[in-house]
Symmetry: D4
Subunit: 154 residues, 8 copies
């Protein structure tokens, strides 16, 4: 039977290499998956609006214009994803990750959440809207291998 290419959106934390680990795992397994992600260069993501459109006044509108520009990318890629992976790291508020999870849930997207056990209680609403909770990127790759190919680790 011929094969679908799955679109997977990797949302959330941008301070560790979890996206690269997933990308390498997918490549190593040869899975039929196209990965998408937000812009992960922190400074660019913060300043893209004023960099392109000029100064926007105070910091609130500076942030606002960048966040809106970023949302063209994130909203579009998230809306066309087959699966959304949302990663919460150890640090920072990461409200944009939770926002993306809520956005994905309302669109009916299957969600895999990736976070350490210490966040279990604080993330219970997000986890309750998800199909699975993974603890490390390797589990995400295994889950995607199973979902797309029916392959389980032996």
């Amino acid at each position: 039977m011929s094969e679908k290419t799955w679109s997977v959106y990797l949302s959330g934390e941008i301070h560790s290499d979890w996206r690269e680990q997933i990308a390498q795992g997918i490549e190593a397994a040869g899975l039929p998956i196209r990965l998408n992600a937000p812009v992960t260069v922190h400074a660019d993501s913060d300043d893209c609006g004023p960099t392109i459109f000029g100064p926007q006044g105070d910091t609130f509108w500076h942030d606002h214009s960048s966040a809106k520009l970023n949302s063209i990318r994130t909203g579009t890629l998230l809306a066309e994803a087959d699966v959304v992976v949302v990663r919460f790291g150890e640090k920072y508020k990461q409200w944009n990750a939770a926002f993306d999870a809520g956005f994905a849930a309302a669109l009916g997207k299957p969600i895999i959440v990736l976070h350490p056990p210490e966040h279990d209680h604080a993330l219970k609403e997000v986890d309750a809207a998800a199909k699975a909770v993974a603890r490390d990127p390797a589990q995400v790759v295994q889950a995607l291998a199973y979902v797309t190919r029916g392959e389980l680790p032996r």
Copy 2:
């Protein structure tokens, strides 16, 4: 006139070779159809969650974590199908097959149900939501040949 490739999802019973019969019939007729299906290895389907994410406690949550992981695949493939074929075999509860039929019906997918006459009364609600009720895989292939190419058995 150029030709559409149809996506057909084969839901339901996993203990006989009906999917293979349909696949062979479609290949023999050269129909423009891409087939999709759930993971049909029974043990994998039962244990995929704990196999990947670790033990989940009692059997209820063991089942739960596997069922959710499976639903990433089944929900996605079903939602993008042009036609959904749902097979009910002679044995077992097969509630997941009826669940898939209801899911497909609510999405407005055309459904072909495949089951023996002995189930007619018990399946009347499912059949009422379907476009056709077939008795064997060959009829499904013929129906798909007609739907996609206008070809009837002569």
Copy 3:
């Protein structure tokens, strides 16, 4: 703060008094809930089509015409429900209950499944699409009291 009237659809098994138990529990607690249900007179549900529109030929079309007429009621009430409760009893195939669960799931309705533990494995896909699995009607009433009023059993 003023109060919403919740619409709850009671789908599934028609051979025990579980709907009456829930109705009595809701009335006793004074919950702001409107209950709806399919026609639960078994013979009427089986024969309504031919009774109104005349004989429809063989048993398949007899069943078919009744099932379609019933689906006007069930599909409409289910689609406007805030919460869908689906009951699986000890006996029979009950494929229409699983069909309703799938239909409700695709519409994004919150589902509470009501069934004995012996069906846990066979119903794992249905349970995985649900918000809760209850074991008796009293738990359903408690859940609805919590959902609509925030009231927990003390």
Copy 4:
């Protein structure tokens, strides 16, 4: 011209009296608004699942069963709201608030975010999806007075 009753959902922080302040402001102004909210008794919200359905195994599934039960209420009331107000307090992760904001955004609901300036940068994605950012409950009441009645503070 006759008047619509607006439904406003108050999501987020449950440790201060901001909901009461808004309720009092709305009552004082006689605005045509029906307020809704999640269950705000912290312990009940944490334990509702096991309290009703019995122990669920480890803490993860304990949380999970409660979060799912809560989501019947929150998802339903949020989906029927005309306006969603999301409050972020000074403390805690509050990922459920950001999740609700994302959920509301994907449903196209107009959002008013309520938070202190210190969260501006961390909440820029949420604020970018909102119609307004308020700093205190009185501003929310004023905004609702304007939206529903065209009344501005003089």
Copy 5:
């Protein structure tokens, strides 16, 4: 259990008293149903556009302006109906009836078609999209009594 008021739209033929028969049957049975219909005064339906907005040029645009004005009413009432009844009489083209049936079908509305057996073959596509085919208004009333109240003729 409290009761829903059903909205039923009566589309199609305007030269016999079938709508009145259904209205009388519903009133006699005390059914919880609100009936809606297009404007059934033939001349008004033909000329409403130019009567209000002035002459529109040739007969094509005369018809066009009236048909568009009528569609505000028919499209709105049809879209909010719970059940759509479409009547085909013995005479005339009645393409607007078939158009309404298609419109209702695409919206997922349950349809009851009312027509004499002589039209069975020509209406097979419409009937295939319907929940029931009735032969006289009394059957429609009986079907609505069953759908709304579970009452069958005894």
Copy 6:
């Protein structure tokens, strides 16, 4: 047959008394219609954002914060309207009127445009998406009388 209350949204020009004329015509005719409109006090509509939330920096963000706050009202009332009337006066750009018309069109709302013939060519795209083009408020009232009650001027 019982009667629906229609919701009609009056969008566009705020410098003449056309809304009052329509309101009076509807009241005089006793039509079952609830009218809604944006805030029509020009200064309030321009300054509502900063008036409530404080100064927003330069004029662009001043306008922006007001326009977003207004859109909570206009977007909500427009989305729940049965019919949208859009008025273009003789003067000003009135881009918000055309924006509302496009918004209504994408939602499938029936639109009645009200404008003088001198705008016919410039408004041809808007008129092409509308059900009718009226030249004065009295025609709008007549159209609404016909749509809601089937009444034509005699």
Copy 7:
């Protein structure tokens, strides 16, 4: 600028060669269009159900089973069309053509109706839901050339 391939569905009359004329016109003009159509072999369209699934009882259910099988093809191809052309010939009831037009209208598809002037009055509701009314296949080709390429006959 790169080019979209447009999907055009040709619905309606099956007794003349209008589809071939359009296909030839499109090929001659080299337009980026993929045409789709129902099965146009009249006998096959009438008998496909019983031919594949066996005798279905009386003529009503014979027709019914064929119409449902045909609707898998027609409903799918119509729903994915960018433009729907509906042809009404001089003869026959052609209710399926009007049904398709209504179905397409409810899905928001742009419709081009093709019919002789003698049907103008009877088709006014269908024409009012259409983007254009053509009198011969050559006009349809010209319209499609303009829509897809901006080419007008010179």
Copy 8:
């Protein structure tokens, strides 16, 4: 990670070369973008209806038939766009541009508005529905480079 081709629709003003500037900028940067636009030959856009379908009576219906034919193209391309750019020039009413912006907003499309500062106040509702406001085509190209590739001007 493999790359998505983005579809960008360029709506609005047709009297300057802004579309060509954007096209050249995209080509120069090698961005993965497919541009679409309305027919920009003014005379063709005005006369396409009567040119193909023959004279339509007075100027209103002349305009009407052309506007409807144009809307097949514009509505289809706009609805499948990932991003919609709407340009307002210095002159003319440009109500079709604002109509397109409203249409895009209701569909949830991310919008970039392109206009000089002199229109800021008159366009505040349109800008409030947009993700960004650009002042020249080069900024649009930079925004698209960032959205599609994460590239910022250095």
